[in-house]
Symmetry: C2
Subunit: 314 residues, 2 copies
């Protein structure tokens, strides 16, 4: 037991990231049933779809689960209404200021966690009264910070600046990496990419296959002029890369991106023309497993890493 397992009332301090197009009720409930904390990813759901997923998740598990809400979301009011009505107890907010909605959620008895990528925002989280933070490094998939600070560098810096319960994210797919995160000063881990390639992920099978086949250097942080996003290399990636190499403007990049690209790639399986958001650690992952297998394996390897460290004397 530690500060994170107590905060969420879960067995293991493993949070499944609330990713777009991957994190529906099947994945979230499976992770929660396995002893971690499952999150529904509201970023790719219309309000009525989120409501359905919350209901199904409640039916599928009696364990705690949460919802991740990117604060740049269009239909925030409708989403917030559903969160309250359905009695969701844990909310992770990202891509926005923690100052704006934390008080509102806390007044409704909801545990609030905010995702950040710098100590500057960690301090803002502390001031806003969040219950915990996720500090996400450069190697993480999807949208990312501007400063490119990696998990190895970010966690000790955040730990030095604030005393909030701290969840490390970015590059974490194994129990060894979980132990590493704790050694750096974290109290828990958020795992995205590994669960995106799980059996219960709602990602298209073609996308999952591409994740487990990917190698080092197959992802890169792109679209820095718009919002930085880590993408898996494909035809769409090459189009963006070509434009960026020709000094395309933010507007030109937005035009290439268009609408619905991530859905096309990640949900519908157009792995050539879709936007495939995934972390660097995809290069490590070589098999699709169930959420329970992943959680169990992480905990087994975490114990092995602890034991390996304990045996070192110099």
């Amino acid at each position: 037991m530690n500060i994170i397992t107590k905060l969420f009332n879960i067995k293991y301090p493993i949070i499944q990231a609330g990713m777009v197009w991957c994190s529906g009720w099947k994945l979230a409930s499976a992770v929660s049933n396995a002893g971690g904390l499952g999150l529904l990813g509201a970023g790719s759901m219309h309000p009525e779809m989120l409501e359905e997923h919350i209901k199904k998740c409640k039916a599928a598990t009696d364990k705690p689960f949460g919802v991740n809400i990117p604060l740049l979301y269009m239909e925030l009011d409708a989403i917030f209404k559903i969160i309250i009505e359905e009695g969701v107890k844990i909310v992770f907010t990202s891509a926005g200021s923690p100052a704006k909605y934390t008080k509102f959620f806390k007044e409704h008895g909801i545990t609030v966690v905010h995702v950040i990528a710098s100590s500057k925002f960690a301090v803002k989280c502390k001031e806003a009264g969040v219950d915990a933070i996720v500090a996400e490094g450069f190697e993480a998939g999807g949208h990312n910070g501007m400063e490119e600070t990696t998990t190895m560098t970010l966690i000790p810096i955040i730990r030095k600046v604030v005393d909030l319960p701290l969840i490390a994210a970015g590059g974490i797919a194994t129990g060894g990496a979980m132990a590493a995160a704790f050694a750096l000063g974290a109290d828990g881990v958020q795992v995205g990419t590994r669960f995106a390639a799980s059996a219960e992920s709602s990602a298209h099978e073609s996308f999952k296959k591409k994740i487990i086949e990917s190698k080092e250097g197959d992802t890169r942080l792109m679209m820095k002029k718009v919002v930085p996003v880590r993408l898996l290399k494909n035809k769409f990636f090459e189009d963006i890369e070509k434009a960026e190499n020709s000094c395309a403007t933010a507007e030109e990049l937005r035009a290439i991106l268009g609408k619905g690209r991530a859905k096309k790639g990640m949900l519908e399986g157009d792995i050539d023309n879709g936007e495939l958001e995934i972390g660097q650690i995809s290069a490590y992952i070589d098999k699709i497993k169930t959420a329970k297998e992943i959680v169990d394996e992480i905990m087994t390897d975490f114990e092995a890493a602890k034991k390996r460290l304990a045996g070192l004397t110099f």
Copy 2:
């Protein structure tokens, strides 16, 4: 004791990176005397200067030390001759193929370590017969790999592919990060930035001051069209950034770089117009300490991290 301390006959598995303009005999001997492995950085020394530093290092310590040789170096033959004549027992090679010179060094009874940033090159190191590898992540200072793989991601991937003694580098400045590297599968750590800002570093005091004052986001990987190099932001950085944002060619970037830029910044202290190579973890470092203080602090914090991990039960 472990595979790395045995290989080099040292007390702690802490290697001080052989950095240009920072790693002379004063730093290398101080680190070796403190129980780590000091390295002279041949990359910024003419052969006769390297010879002088080797002689002085031998006079200043009876402990093992080594020399780092970037294989793109101009005067390799002269350097190799001095290494052999002076009886240097440990060589770290970087920025080139391990296939070319490993056999030569091994025939002279020298322990050879090669620096890599991908599993592809780790396999080449194994084939070439090196004794150990340094796997260096994206967050490291100075010259860097093309694939941008971070330390957190790189170490487990390398560990999966080869069974060579593995030294992690990039983002490592504390005992917590050292424990993290071991948890990820490393057998030792290479520390650069922290020692660049040490009392015995030959870096100019103005550069050291800039390192300890730097914050997150103050370094960035630049010059990707030439050779990727992580730089601290200053006037020179801005010139490169401006050129890159205007799609400058490799030749144009080389023209801005000119000759002697790193010496001007790092040794001579022209912190505006010089090239300042440093790692992301500079944002964490806030005090100049002696090499012995740094080594002792890392080991104390390493033990504390081990203890913290051992106390976790879920």
